[in-house]
């Protein structure tokens, strides 16, 4: 049985975008049983729940809010606090098995949301008016308290599902206050942003760069979704 040293699929930042490509071609099918085993043994269930229903540490990810290449890319380079999963630790097929397991739990229903056409100009207005910018930044670039959402990694249906019932600190945006069409417009606005440039191309981010790491894999198996600075949320600034 293949073993994962680490796979903490803690999508606290489930709206975050991925800006890297998958390391290997993603298969469209996977071994559900192996995926189920890996989901439990690798610690994914610790944060996401045994059936990926979400816990106070991490959101529900069944059905998966991204396609398989998106999931692999996110696992390789998550935008939030989730530890990255190096290819040497979990190969793409193993993630594919988990993906298959997640799909088997709650198959994605066909959603009318996906057919909605978004208006990015209106989305820009709504992004400000509805307070999205407060945590995600005015261009959706994210911050320590919220992930980058411009451009989004998720499908529109995944975004809608998450904002209706978020499992992190994000407040719920119910259908009573934000329509699906509004969300489609915001989604279109966020899609208009390019992926960030690589850090290696920005000199200011390469000042006194630390030495190269020793060859090793990250060995802690768990979630990063711990509020390190929980006392800060009541302050003004």
């Amino acid at each position: 049985m293949r073993q994962l040293k680490l796979l903490a699929l803690a999508f606290a930042v489930v709206l975050g975008c991925h800006c890297v490509e998958a390391q290997a071609p993603a298969k469209t099918s996977g071994d559900i049983d192996n995926g189920k085993h890996l989901f439990a043994s690798a610690g994914c269930a610790t944060c996401h729940g045994a059936k990926a229903e979400g816990t106070n540490l991490a959101p529900a990810i069944a059905p998966p809010p991204v396609d398989l290449p998106g999931l692999i890319a996110y696992a390789r380079k998550p935008t939030g606090k989730m530890p990255p999963v190096p290819i040497g630790t979990a190969d793409d097929q193993q993630i594919g098995d988990i993906y298959a397991f997640l799909k088997s739990i709650a198959p994605a229903s066909s959603s009318a949301v996906e057919s909605l056409k978004g208006d990015p100009e209106n989305g820009k207005k709504l992004f400000a008016a509805y307070g999205c910018y407060e945590c995600h930044g005015r261009q959706g670039a994210g911050a320590a308290i919220a992930p980058r959402v411009g451009p989004p990694a998720l499908s529109l249906a995944g975004v809608v599902r998450y904002v209706r019932a978020p499992t992190g600190q994000m407040p719920p945006y119910t259908a009573k206050v934000v329509s699906d069409q509004d969300l489609a417009d915001i989604y279109a606005y966020l899609k208009s942003f390019p992926a960030p440039q690589p850090a290696s191309t920005i000199p200011l981010l390469n000042q006194q760069r630390a030495p190269r790491p020793a060859e090793s894999s990250f060995f802690f198996a768990c979630s990063e979704l711990v509020p390190q600075y929980s006392g800060s949320v009541r302050r003004r600034a």
């Binding site: 935008t79 509805y130 911050a143 920005i202 390469n206 390190q228 929980s230």
Partner: protein, 644 residues
Amino acid sequence: MRNPKKDSVNRREFLRTAAAGTAALVVPPVTTRAAQPAKPHIAGAPPLLKAVAPDGNPSVEILTVDRPGSDFMVDVLKSLDFEYLCANPGNSFRSLHESLINYGKNQSPEFITCCHEESSVAMGHGYAKIEGKPLLVCVHGTVGLQHASMAIYDAFCDRVPVYIILGNFSDAALRFGQVDWTHSAQDPAAMIRDYVKWDDNAVSLEAFAESAVRAYKIATTPPMMPVALVAGHELQENPAPDGANLAVPKLSTISPPVGDSAAVAEAARMLVAAENPVLITDRVARTAAGLAGMIELAETLQAPVIDRNGRMNFPTRHPLNMTERAGATIAGADVIAGLELTDFWSAVNSVRGQVYPETRPVTKPGTKLISVTANDLFAKSNYQDFQRYQPVDLAIAADAEATLPSLIEAVKRQLTDDRKRAFADRGAKIAAAHQQVMQAQRDAATSGWDASPISTARLSMELWAQIKNEDWSFVSNCQFVSRWPLRLWDFKKHYQYIGAEGGYGVGYGAPASVGAALANRKHGRLTVSIQNDGDLMFAPGVLWTAAHSRIPILILMHNNRAYHQELMQIQIMANQHQRGIERASIGNVLTDPAIDYAKLAQSMGVHGEGPISDPKDLAPAIRRAIEVVKTGSPALVDVLTQPR
């Protein structure tokens, strides 16, 4: 001066009966004392001497005092080696003020004029975290203390010593008029007793001397906290009694409490035996020795360190620093040592929830917990800064910095070759993970790199580029700029970061930064801060203090034009209540008109530039400001920023 004298008649009446210290008022003290009618005095107060002229006329007015009690107070305070006195002037301590600047020659302490008592205390707060000792603060015991109280609470929660003298018109018979009555209290320190470590209301100079030295000793013994000492107006202004035995007690050398040797040995045994020990720090390193001790302990164990940054406890780029992957590291631990950890519970538990909080442990079952904290030695009841109770397996009630040497030695004594090999393997893995984390921070910083308003990552790195080759000290809380400096800069000296407010009281940032800069000045360090806009507006007069007192500091505004934390909180409420989500800004934003911080700074004699919204303009502005700072003056650059 908030209390101009209005009642000269009362002044005259007072002087007629005031204590006389001059030779001109020669009346044998004993005889006079014996003749003194029984007047209602505070117990132990020096008896008032009725003024009697040489010709025996008792109505002669006494106009001068040769050696006021406040001179002796200055003798006492000088023995405590205060460098500075931060104060907004107040007539309830006017005699002490005058004695300090004339009798004491305005040296040790030197008077620093503050525009708000909150600024006075917060300056002391920031100063102490850099210098390692308190400065002196004087406030009115009533209105001044009311202004100062939030800053005192911040210092209390942050375990920082601030030495506060409260002026008061204790003897009602000697109050001049309406204002003195209004500015008097039976028990001035009652208002802050819940959040100072100790206070006293001495009613004689002898007692003042003892209490003053005792207060200093208490304030600077871990856990350190503010102290308050009432200085009665009459005690200050009356002459020192003839024949009084006025001596300044010696200040003892203070040895902080060190952990019990058996408990320390047990902690060492647990850490050495652990497969994945984790060290969590918060307010450990008060000094360079504390930082060095943390490095030695971590390297001896090859254990990861999670720094919650109440102080500069561990170098940010040390291979064992896993602060930015705290959750994973803590969840993988089998033994966790919390060192001066303010909130152990939140380190090992998580909280979330939209309406009701849900909690769950982060640690795996069976993880052993060790705490070393001086907070176990002192607690108060009313204010709840002691945080949620966290059961631990071994609680060592001691100062962590002082305990580090013995803990390190105990760990070394228990090392075997096998454990050393295991530690080396563990350290290599942590080092690799650390590099991954560092790269992840750089990757994350790229988001919105060229955005306008300017991203807080860009703001931080533009600043770092200009100071990285200086002997710098970053003295502001960087929580509200997504902690980018701590995530990306190379912090490695104990004075390069001083933590946050302690009590999360806003208004701390600007004055504490200026106080820290005051401490840094004589060391020649380049002091920099990233200043939140809302925080500055609580008491912006501290900019004038910085200019007036030639305190060099570079202030970079994080101007998101909002009380942004509250804006997000109201957004959460609006979403939960489903009554509309577009009006959360009401009451939470600082717009219409936008505040021009450059002009605000300029109006108080501080170099000011901005607002800057194009990231390309930032570096030249910072360079210009640093040139000003290097001349010994403060400078402010206003930067329009992303919310976080």
